[in-house]
Symmetry: C2
Subunit: 187 residues, 2 copies
DNA sequence: TAAAAATCTAAACATTTGTTATCGTTTCCA
DNA sequence: TGGAAACGATAACAAATGTTTAGATTTTTA
């Protein structure tokens, strides 16, 4: 147990004392399936670590259409990290698609980590780099692979996703309509 | 002058001594317009800081078509950062579109900075965060804005770009054909 | 557990975007 | 500096993708 402890130890050198002091500043929360964990227009002041469940990141456009931007799985950190960093109002919603348990890391804990954990800055760097690589891969794929190819390889990024989220959300993530995805699957 | 000095000072607290020792590990290079600075298939072991000029990042797909992934301007760091981090062969080319002067930061200097600059890890974090925010914005825009809207706002990200790169590369960056961009401009 | 909502597929049609070819202009470089 | 290459616009046609509507099935929830 204490999954976040394990993940942090894999990333940086951190003593049990440091870990305890850091995690004492966090709380564990559970959200029922379908609950909005974080809403747009507010400045995001938390980062979430997922112990159990699945979180969808989505954005609502001017016509009111929802676009699925991302799925976050167990043992991952998730937030509107861009606006967390910039301390600007969020454009995203975070929604639990299953009953979900998270560790809530408030901004104060993150900042405490940067100054008081020996390798706090390094951990921040590694997390930013991890998501940078993920985004780079996404952007690259959107240039050089077809929607069908991106569909066929989606489980490389989100294992077992087909059994956990409805197909129309996958279509939305891929940037196509659910009708079109249905068509592509036939061929 | 010494633009990289100024940029680093804006990001972190760094002494003149630290700066000197760090920059002594770098060299300045110039590339003529159209030169390939970094080619695919090799592991990228340099990060470039642009003193003067403009670098295009591009990827060539299986049909041999080039896709413009990014433009890097003066006073910015650029690399196939994803594969620099992962120490994997690059998919990208870096091409000077104008006569370009860069500061070459080899991997050894970056690693030296992480261990010997007081705020080296922080600088790494800030750079990764900076590009994360840029990429997040790009991904977001691809979901909620039309190609025309993205074209109309491109100078927010790349000031004066219309006077520096051919339109068909902008079309490629936007993910559309040059013919189609030509059409969109009429409406 | 039954009604309501969500989900997926399908077909027909509309719109967007890509492809090919042509042409006049501009830019480049030998 | 002059020929060649690159560039941007345009038209006609083709392919990909979106929209609307409908219906059957599954899932949710009251």
């Amino acid at each position: 147990m204490d999954q976040i402890r394990r993940v942090m130890k894999q990333m940086i050198n951190v003593s049990e004392d440091e870990l305890k002091n850091f995690l004492d500043q966090t709380i564990t929360k559970t959200f029922k399936r379908q609950t909005i964990i974080s809403a747009p227009d507010a400045i995001p002041n938390n980062i979430y670590f997922i112990n159990r469940g699945l979180i969808r990141v989505l954005i609502t456009d001017h016509e009111g259409t929802e676009h699925t931007i991302h799925f976050a799985l167990e043992n991952q950190f998730i937030a509107d990290y861009s606006n967390f960093i910039q301390q600007q109002p969020s454009f995203y919603s975070l929604q639990a698609l299953e009953d979900t348990e998270v560790v809530v890391l408030p901004r104060s804990a993150i900042e405490w980590g940067y100054t008081h954990l020996t390798e706090g800055q390094k951990m921040g760097r590694l997390i930013a780099e991890y998501y940078f690589i993920y985004q780079d891969d996404r952007i690259k794929n959107r240039y050089v692979r077809t929607p069908k190819e991106r569909y066929d390889s989606i489980t490389e990024v989100f294992p077992n996703i087909h059994n956990r989220v409805p197909q129309h959300m996958i279509a939305s993530y891929l940037g196509i309509t659910p009708i079109h995805l249905s068509r592509l699957k036939k061929s």
